[in-house]
């Protein structure tokens, strides 16, 4: 008779206990909040204000709006992407491998599904917080005060989940911190530069633009940019579905890889 505990190919299902993992991460965050807020929020904010006001002065209106207003949507998405990615790679890897926090958790009634979901949701929460912080900067500096901004937090919840799930796949494959350089350099940086954060994607060759539309930063920008400009997105459900499907696939793949890594 052979037996595998809940085959690694299953869809991960968390129990109520995963809240205890979220609370653990929150307690750590509360102790170090000041420094993490600096890193998560200040970087994209500086980019937005420096490029927006500095470079923006030299540029004509883009798609009919000042450059900083165009850039605002991209900055919000970029902040969300980086917030999720740092937490779900470097920080999660510390807990998984370096501090062996996950090992301790798995010796309790917590399952790997609980721990994985909690980590993804935690990274999504931090992503949300980073995105909303830049949204507040946009409001504060009167870059946009359209009522449609109220929709943005909902988009950020979903986008944060997607970015977090993708990053945790990389963590499941990582042997050391160096590995994350590949993700940041080969995936995130091109995605940020080619998905319409800094300039409209119609400036790109059509083939490349089409490829970038498949990556998850594009639908987030496609949703948020019109909302910053006071419009509703043309095909909202399409982009929401693209983010949701990417998130679901990523969560499942992360679960498979984490089970292979830890419960072998």
């Amino acid at each position: 008779m052979s037996f595998a505990p809940a085959s690694r190919w299953h869809w991960p299902r968390p129990s109520r206990l995963s809240l205890a993992v979220l609370r653990r991460n929150f307690l750590v965050w509360r102790k170090t909040a000041a420094t993490t807020v600096l890193g998560d929020v200040l970087d994209p904010m500086v980019v937005l204000l420096a490029l927006g006001y500095g470079l923006g002065k030299l540029l004509p209106a883009i798609e009919g709006v000042p450059y900083i207003t165009f850039l605002a949507a991209g900055s919000i998405c970029m902040g969300t992407l980086y917030g999720a990615s740092f937490e779900a790679t470097y920080s999660a890897f510390s807990r998984l491998q370096v501090q062996r926090t996950w090992e301790g958790m798995l010796n309790t009634p917590l399952s790997l599904d609980d721990v994985l979901w909690a980590e993804i949701l935690w990274a999504a929460t931090k992503a949300f917080k980073s995105g909303v912080a830049i949204l507040l900067v946009v409001l504060l500096f009167d870059i946009s005060r359209q009522p449609t901004l109220a929709w943005i937090p909902f988009v950020l919840m979903l986008a944060g989940l997607t970015f977090a799930a993708l990053a945790i796949i990389v963590t499941a494959l990582a042997k050391g911190y160096d590995f994350f350089m590949y993700y940041f350099t080969l995936v995130m940086t091109p995605m940020v530069f080619l998905s319409g954060v800094f300039f409209p994607v119609n400036q790109l060759p059509a083939g490349l633009a089409a490829v970038m539309q498949c990556l998850p930063l594009a639908p987030a920008i496609n949703l948020i940019r019109p909302l910053v400009l006071g419009q509703l997105p043309a095909q909202p459900m399409l982009y929401v579905a693209q983010l949701a499907v990417t998130a679901a696939l990523a969560i499942w793949l992360a679960s498979v890889l984490m089970h292979r890594r830890l419960l072998r």
Binding site: V21, V28, G104, S111
Partner: protein, 315 residues
């Protein structure tokens, strides 16, 4: 007490039947079987790579296995391993305390993983800290603790759920002698309270002091099992004379025929296992280049006898 409760009370705390586990082509555990009664301290002994840690992981439901049946505290594993883990306390080989938290926060946060309320855990913390002799370190950060203190905190943390079974993977590896004795004393106290203990170790004095019964495993299967003294009596002559020094090998060549002892050589030392040590000691008279030690056979001899003296590549 109901009939069902009685049968649970007399059921083994741990029951392993025909466990097989391989990684790829390599067999790690090959048909291992043993059982541990409630209140017993059972030691799994074996060289590095013998399958000890893999067996513990299987018991906790943390590794799929190829064949066999496991039951822990009456719960079939892995099917009900979550329920089993709720009644188990685990002390891992390497400390995995949360470095961002204080001593007290480590216990509180870990208790939540068992679904305990903060009130429940806080009520237990003073007794746990007292047990670990860490009451004065309640608010200390983990990096302020010594290795021995960390181990004791890890042990206290393993008790936060009031477990029936405590599983320790090499609990005193890397500790200094004082810290080790303190951990042993705590473990004996847990036994006195009726807890069941399963530990792995390759310290023979640890096994001899703590364990009522031992299972010696090598290459994934059981090579001997029983009480430490019984095992020694069963497999070894009662006395050992260790002979070492520059002329040890020449001495052996000269006396091999007349020694009423079974001789084993390990490195530069000649081990003479004998029913009576006197004839061996007589044969040593006048050899001033030799030193010798006469002693009763111990677990270390048994361990080497059963698992071999050779250096292992994978070790």
């Amino acid at each position: 007490m109901s009939v069902a409760a009685q049968s649970v009370a007399s059921a083994p705390a741990v029951w392993v039947q025909g466990l097989f586990k391989r990684f790829g082509e390599k067999a790690i555990v090959e048909g291992l079987s043993f059982r541990i009664q409630p209140g017993e301290c059972y030691g799994l002994l074996g060289p590095n790579g013998a399958g000890k840690t893999t067996t513990l992981r299987a018991l906790l439901g943390l590794t799929p296995f190829d064949a066999g049946q496991l039951e822990v505290l009456g719960f079939p594993v892995p099917r009900q391993s979550r329920q089993a883990r709720a009644r188990i306390g685990v002390v891992p080989q390497l400390d995995n305390l949360d470095p961002d938290f204080t001593v007290e926060e480590n216990l509180l946060v870990f208790g939540r993983y068992f679904g305990l309320s903060d009130r429940q855990v806080r009520a237990r913390i003073p007794a746990l800290l007292d047990f670990a002799a860490l009451s004065g370190k309640r608010a200390a950060r983990i990096n302020e603790l010594s290795g021995g203190m960390k181990r004791r905190l890890t042990l206290a943390r393993a008790l936060v759920n009031g477990p029936d079974l405590i599983v320790l993977d090499e609990p005193t590896t890397g500790l200094d002698p004082q810290a080790r004795h303190l951990v042993w004393e705590r473990l004996r106290e847990l036994l006195a309270r009726g807890k069941t203990i399963l530990l792995t170790t390759h310290f023979m004095d640890e096994a001899e002091r703590l364990c009522g019964r031992l299972g010696v495993i090598d290459h994934g299967s059981m090579v001997a099992e029983g009480a430490p003294r019984e095992l020694i009596a069963q497999h070894l002559e009662p006395y050992v004379v260790e002979v070492y020094g520059d002329g040890a090998m020449q001495w052996l060549d000269a006396h091999r025929g007349e020694l009423p002892a079974r001789v084993e050589i390990s490195g530069e030392t000649v081990f003479c296992y004998a029913a009576a040590p006197e004839p061996v000691v007589r044969a040593l008279q006048g050899h001033h280049d030799l030193r010798y030690l006469q002693r009763p056979a111990n677990l270390e001899d048994l361990f080497l006898r059963l698992t071999g003296r050779g250096m292992r590549e994978e070790a």
